[in-house]
């Protein structure tokens, strides 16, 4: 199989998972789409070298996190969320939707680097060392960022009545 064929097969197999990870990092499907595309294009440019070492997933993950952090850190490239400005033509009373919005709002309170640490550790199930490699920092930093991020996330989740009620149920 040629490079394009291999890349297309990889995208078919791993694209959705990468996009989900990107969404958990940024909380915006459209930005997640952009982040995933940027990460995959970077992967394509070094495909042969990375594929030879059998490190496609690790590389894609690392690039995705770096692209996300860089995007957040360049203020003039930071898209403004439009959630506050959304106009609905009819009231929405779907508890699932309200819960998702509450979770998204809680996650948005966690600073980007800490959020990345949480997603890597608890969604992708990476070890501390693997997460440290993806974040290019020390294992100790991953531990502290994860602990801080979890504390912020839990505090935010506890403040949300819909979620607290859902957890009681």
């Amino acid at each position: 199989m040629d490079r394009d064929g291999e890349f297309a097969a990889y995208y078919a197999a791993r694209g959705a998972a990468l996009r989900n990870t990107a969404y958990l990092l940024c909380g915006d499907w459209h930005l997640a789409h952009d982040l995933t595309q940027t990460a995959l294009i970077k992967l394509y440019l070094v495909w042969s070298r990375v594929n030879r070492h059998g490190a496609l997933d690790a590389y894609a993950r690392q690039v995705l996190v770096r692209v996300f952090l860089d995007e957040r850190r360049r203020p003039w490239r930071r898209e403004r969320g439009t959630a506050d400005q959304a106009v609905f033509d009819r009231p929405v009373h779907d508890p699932a939707v309200e819960e998702r919005l509450a979770v998204r709002a809680a996650l948005a309170e966690v600073p980007p680097r800490q959020r990345a640490a949480i997603v890597l550790r608890f969604w992708l199930d990476l070890s501390v060392d693997q997460a440290a490699e993806a974040l290019r920092c020390s294992p100790g930093t991953v531990k502290s960022q994860t602990a801080r991020g979890l504390a912020t996330l839990r505090a935010a989740l506890e403040r949300t009545p819909e979620l607290a009620e859902g957890q009681r149920r």
Partner: protein, 269 residues
């Protein structure tokens, strides 16, 4: 940890837009590869030309090179997270207060971070704020831009040499096309000019130019700059790019240099 996984799972129940097809992605990847090859070719040729020109300049430059314009600080300033947040908020407030008449702020934010990012060396503490500005009548033709102010401290900000922009360079995108050192209220401020490519749909020439001002004080680097455009949709979240770019800067280079002395942008005591 189950509660966190559960929260993530709930979040992913939200339906997203359809993903790109493999063909679309491959098309974008091919274009990126072509761009990279072209850039490498141009860079190689430019480096060869620069090497020849540089060799001719090196000897005279060594004879006339000026000494650094400010002294190196003795230590790297430290800033706690809480203090950084306060400084960032102060900077954001100041940005809103210094806008001249006729320029309206329509939103902004402040941020703090430390540690390495690809655009900045490791160990740089950064505190910053920006504001989106609109010029023009509220219900008439509008033009949008962005004003940014940053404070950086870290082992690599200590050079104090106004001839060296690092590490602030990591915050700016584009190519530097000139700079000079101004004296403002007795202090030296570097004012540079950058050129950045933008989509031809937004400006016919395909690039914009803007100024930045940099001052070093007590181991801190203070940067202020104004972008004549913004990627953010200023008053229409749907139609990005609906607001045209400013056709002239709000601040003159000297005014930008003066802004680096604003008390609101000063490093923490």
């Amino acid at each position: 940890m189950n509660d966190v996984r559960e929260a993530f799972g709930r979040l992913l129940e939200e339906p997203g837009p359809p993903p790109a097809t493999a063909e679309q992605l491959l098309g974008a990847a091919h274009r990126a590869r072509t761009r990279r090859r072209r850039t490498r070719g141009v860079t190689g040729a430019a480096l060869a030309v620069l090497a020849v020109i540089g060799a001719a300049w090196l000897v005279p430059a060594e004879k006339t090179s000026p000494a650094p314009t400010t002294a190196s600080p003795s230590s790297v300033p430290h800033l706690s997270d809480a203090a950084a947040q306060l400084v960032a908020q102060r900077m954001e407030t100041t940005l809103g207060e210094i806008l001249p008449a006729g320029v309206e702020s329509v939103g902004g934010a402040s941020s703090t971070w430390d540690g390495g990012v690809s655009s900045l060396p490791n160990g740089i503490t950064t505190v910053g704020a920006f504001t989106d500005v609109l010029v023009g009548p509220r219900h008439g033709p509008l033009a949008g831009g962005q004003l940014l102010a940053y404070l950086l401290a870290g082992s690599e900000t200590g050079a104090g040499d106004l001839c060296a922009l690092t590490p602030g360079r990591g915050l700016l995108t584009g190519t530097e096309i000139g700079c000079e050192v101004l004296t403002v209220r007795g202090g030296k401020v570097r004012v540079g000019r950058m050129r950045e490519a933008v989509a031809p749909a937004r400006v016919a020439s395909g690039y914009v130019e803007f100024h930045y001002a940099v001052r070093y004080v007590d181991g801190w680097l203070i940067m202020v700059w104004e972008l004549p455009y913004t990627r953010q949709p200023l008053n229409n979240p749907v139609a990005d790019g609906a607001v045209p770019m400013l056709d002239r800067p709000v601040f003159t280079p000297r005014r930008l240099a003066e802004l680096t002395l604003e008390p609101g942008f000063a490093p923490p005591a």
